[in-house]
Amino acid sequence: MTVTMKPARIFGSGIRRREDPRLITGTARYTDDITLPGMVHAAVLRSPHAHARIARLDTQRATGAPGVVAVFTGADVEGALNPIPCAWLLPNAELKIAQYRALAKDVVRYVGDAVAVVVAESPYQAADALDLIDVDYEPMPATVDPEKAAQKNAPQLHAEIPGNVAFHWTLAGGDVDAAFKSADVIIRDRIHQQRLIPTAMETRGAVAQFVPATGELTLWNTTQNPHIVRFIMSLVTGVPEDRLRVVAPEVGGGFGSKIAQIQGDFITTFCSMKLGRPVKWQESRSENYVSTTHGRDHVQDIELAATKDGRVTALRATVWAGMGAYLSTAAPGIPTILHGLMLSGPYTIPAVKEDVYGVYTNTTPVEAYRGAGRPEATFMLERMMDLLADKIGVDPVEVRRRNLIPPFENGHNVVTGLTYDSGNYEGALSKALNHVKYDALRAEQKAAREKGRYVGIGVSVYVEICGLGPSQVAGAIGFQGGLWESAIVRFHPSGKVNVFIGASPHGQGEETTFAQIVSDELGVGVNDVKVVHGDTDNTPMGWGTYGSRTTAVGGAALAVATRKIKEKAKLLAGHLLEAAVEDIDYADGRFFVKGFPDRHKTIQDIALMANVAWNLPQGMEAGLEATSFYDPPNFVYPFGAHVAVVEVDAETGRVDLKRYVAVDDCGPQINPVIVEGQVHGGVVQGIGQALWEEAVYDESGQLLTGSLADYAIPRADLLPDLEVLSTVTPSPHHPLGVKGIGEAGTIASTCTVYNAVIDALEPFKVSSLRMPLTPERVWRAIHAKGA
C-alpha cells in the first residue's frame, strides 16, 4: 500500500519571492536607472527660507552655463500648469485649500519650496548651474508648530486663509460631557506626535517623455499609485488621460511618501513638454528631506474619564495637526478619518469627542506615513490606559482587560460609527502575555529594581482600520477617487497565467502572494502565474498601494476573478465531458465528473480548449479570462497585542530594547514569511519614532535634521531580534478572510516601547516625556525628579 502525501497547501506556504531574482542581481530598474535617447537632467532650485518674498529672480547666468538647455521659473509655469490639487476634500470641516504651485511665484512658504529648474545635458552640469541663479529673498516671519500657528498673531502663510487653519473637523459619539461630569477619575495628558521623515531608501524621482507630434506623455515615476498619478497629472498638465501613460518602475519603498504628487513630478513633466525631450529628475537625499512629504506632526491634548475601578467612560481630545505649507494630495484625511474614527480602539468606550485642527505651517507638506493617523490614535489610547492604571493602582494589563471588547466574528459597532469586522483582542493579548511569561517578567522587574536596574515593560493592545475601502464611504468622506481594486486573470493557450492588477506593490510581495492565490484557487503551478502591475497602459484602473489595502482589496478582486474563471471552466468542462454542470466537481486543478475521477479535464486542458474555441457550448465566448472590480463592503480591522522590555541606564539615559514581542492578527496568512517581514519592518519603524527619529525645525523654519547625518533612522546594531507570533481571526466579509498587515507593526510599536520606558522610569515618577526618547531626554527626566 502506498501512502500519498497531500502536498502542503500553497496558500499559507512561506515560498520564496518571485520579485527577488531581479533585485538580488541588480538587474531591476528603478526610476534613476532609466536612460532614454536624448534625455536631459533637471535640477530644482529650492527656497532656503521658510517664508520669504521673492524680490528678484535672475536666471541669465544659469541659462548660459555649460550644458544648460533651459531654465524655468514660476512665471514660465503660470498658465501652463494648473495648481496641484488636494484630492481629499474633507466635508463639514470648513476646508480651506491654499493654491499650491509646481514652482513658487512671488512667495516661498517652506524651506524646499521649488523656485526654479535647470535642465542640462548632465546632472553635474544642472547642479552647477543652480549656483548661478540669482535670487534676492525678503525673509518674513515663519511659524512651524501647528498649535502656535493657529493662535492669534502667528505669522500668516496664505492671505486668503487668515488664521492658518486648513480645516476644523469634529467627531462626536455618545454623551462625553455627562461622562466627564460623573467621572470618578479624570486623566489628562499632552502628547507630541513628532514630525517624521519617511526615508524610503529610494528617493523620489521622475522621467517624463512628452512627444509633441502625438501629444502623448509617458511618465516613469516613483509612485505607490500610477493610476492616480495619471488622473492628477492629466488635471494639472492638460494631457488627456488616454494619452498619458504612467509607469511605476521598480520602486524602492514608499511608506506613504510616494502617494502624493509633489512639485518635482510636475516640474519634470513641464520641462519635457516645453523641450520635447525626455527629462529626468531624481532627488538627492537632502532634497528628499525638504521636498518629499513628511508624517505625523500632531500636538494632542487628551482627557479620559473613568470609573474608580478603571472602566473608561469617555475620551475627549483636541489635536493640532501640522499640514505643512500646502495641503498634500491625501493629507486632510489622515489626522481625521484615519485617526478619529479609531479613537475607541479595541475598548468598549461609550463616548468619544475629538476636535482636529489642520494647520498650515512653514514646513514641508505632511502626508500619510506608515500607519497614517492610526499610530497617533493607538498611542493616545495606550498612554491613557497606562496613566489610568497608575492612577488607580491597577496593573496596566488588568486595566485593559476591564475595557476590551469581547471576541466577535461578524461585526461590532463602535461609538465612532464604524463596524469592526472581527476581533479577538483578549486572544491576542493572552498569547503575547503567555509568550513573555508576563507575571515572571514583572517579578524579574521587581528584583532588578531592588538592584538599582531600571527595567520597564510596555504592553499595548490595538485595532486598526485599513483595507481602504468602500467607495461609497470614500465619496462621503471627501476622498476624490474610488477605493475599489481590480484584477484581470488571463489564461494563455498553454495554460500559463498572467494577472494584471491595478494595485502597485513596491516591496510587499504581491507578485508572489497573488500567484499563490491563483494557484490555490485553480490548481495552476505557482510558477506558471506572472503578476503584472505598475504600468497604466497594461493594467486596469486601481487606486494604489497604501493603507494596507493591496491584499485586503486587490487580493479580494483577484479571488473574485479566479472564481469567475472557475465557473466558466466548470461549464466548459461539463460540455467537453458531456456531463451536466451540476455533476462536475473541482479539486486541485481538475474538473471531473462526480464519482468518476478518471473522467476529467485539467485547468490547462480547459485553457487550451477555451482559447482555440473548437467546441464551446452555445453562447459561451472564447478565451479563459475574467475581470473583477471589487468594492469592499467594509474596511478590515487587523489587531494585536505587543510587549516590549527595555532597560534604561540611569547614568547615560540610554534605552536598551531587550525584547520585543508582537502578536498580530491579519486573518489567514497567504505567505507567513512575507507577513512576518511586514511586521518586522513596521515594528522597527515604530520603534524609530519612539527612540530616535524626529524632524526638527528651528523657529525660523530651517530643517535642522536635513540629512541622514542628523535624522536617526533605525540601524541593525540598535535592535534585538523581534519575536513575531500571530492569531488568525478571519474577516467575515473578505473572500479569503484576509486583512491587511503592512502598517500594523508601526501602529502598535511606538506606544509599546514608549510605555516600557515610562514604566522603567517609574521610580523617578516620570509620567510624560516627549519622543524620541533620546538618552539626553531620558537623562534630564531622571535628574529633574531626583534620583
Binding site: E202, S707, L708
Partner: protein
C-alpha cells in the same frame, strides 16, 4: 579638465576620461552602465552604494573614480558567476532578506566584507558589521538571518 582612469569592473576594463570630481558610484552607474549599485543619500550614511574595491567594501559615493584608477571593483552584478547565484544572493532570497530591494546590493556587498573578515559571525557581529547599511523595509532581522545562512552555506 578631465583625467584618464582605468578601472576593472567585474573583470571588465573600463577606460574613460573623467572629471576629477566624478564619484565612483556615478562612474559605475553612468560610465560603466551598471545601475545595480544604488544611491540612497548624500552624507555617506546609508551604504546603498557599497561595492568592493580591491576586495574590500567601500562606499562608492565617498570615493572618487580617480581613486579607483588601476583598481578592481566588484558590484552586485559581479557577484554571481554566470547564472549561478553567489551564496549571499541565494541566502537573501531564501531568507526573505529583502523587500523593496533598494538597499540590497549594498547590503550584500557589506555582508561580503563581514564574512571575509569573520566567516562565522554571531548575530551581534553581523548587526555591528552592517551598522553602515540602512534598510527601511525589513527591520534587519531577515538580513541577519540571510547573512547567517550564507555563512553556513560555504565560501564567501
Amino acid at each position: 579638465m578631465k583625467v584618464p582612469v582605468s578601472v576593472s569592473v567585474n573583470g571588465r576594463a573600463i577606460q574613460r576620461d573623467v572629471e576629477p570630481r566624478l564619484l565612483l558610484v556615478h562612474f559605475l552607474r553612468d560610465v560603466a552602465g551598471l545601475t545595480g549599485t544604488k544611491i540612497g543619500c548624500d552624507t555617506s550614511q546609508c551604504g546603498a552604494c557599497t561595492v568592493l574595491l580591491d576586495g574590500m567594501a567601500v562606499k562608492a559615493c565617498t570615493c572618487l573614480a580617480v581613486q579607483a584608477d588601476g583598481a578592481s571593483v566588484t558590484t552586485v552584478e559581479g557577484l554571481s558567476a554566470g547564472t549561478a547565484l553567489h551564496p549571499l544572493q541565494e541566502a537573501f532570497w531564501e531568507k526573505h532578506g529583502l523587500q523593496c530591494g533598494f538597499c540590497t546590493p549594498g547590503m550584500m556587498l557589506a555582508a561580503h566584507d563581514v564574512l571575509r573578515t569573520n566567516p562565522s559571525p554571531t548575530s551581534d557581529q553581523i548587526r555591528h558589521g552592517l551598522e553602515g547599511n540602512l534598510c527601511r523595509c525589513t527591520g534587519y532581522q531577515n538580513i541577519v538571518r540571510s547573512v547567517q545562512a550564507a555563512a553556513q552555506g560555504g565560501r564567501s
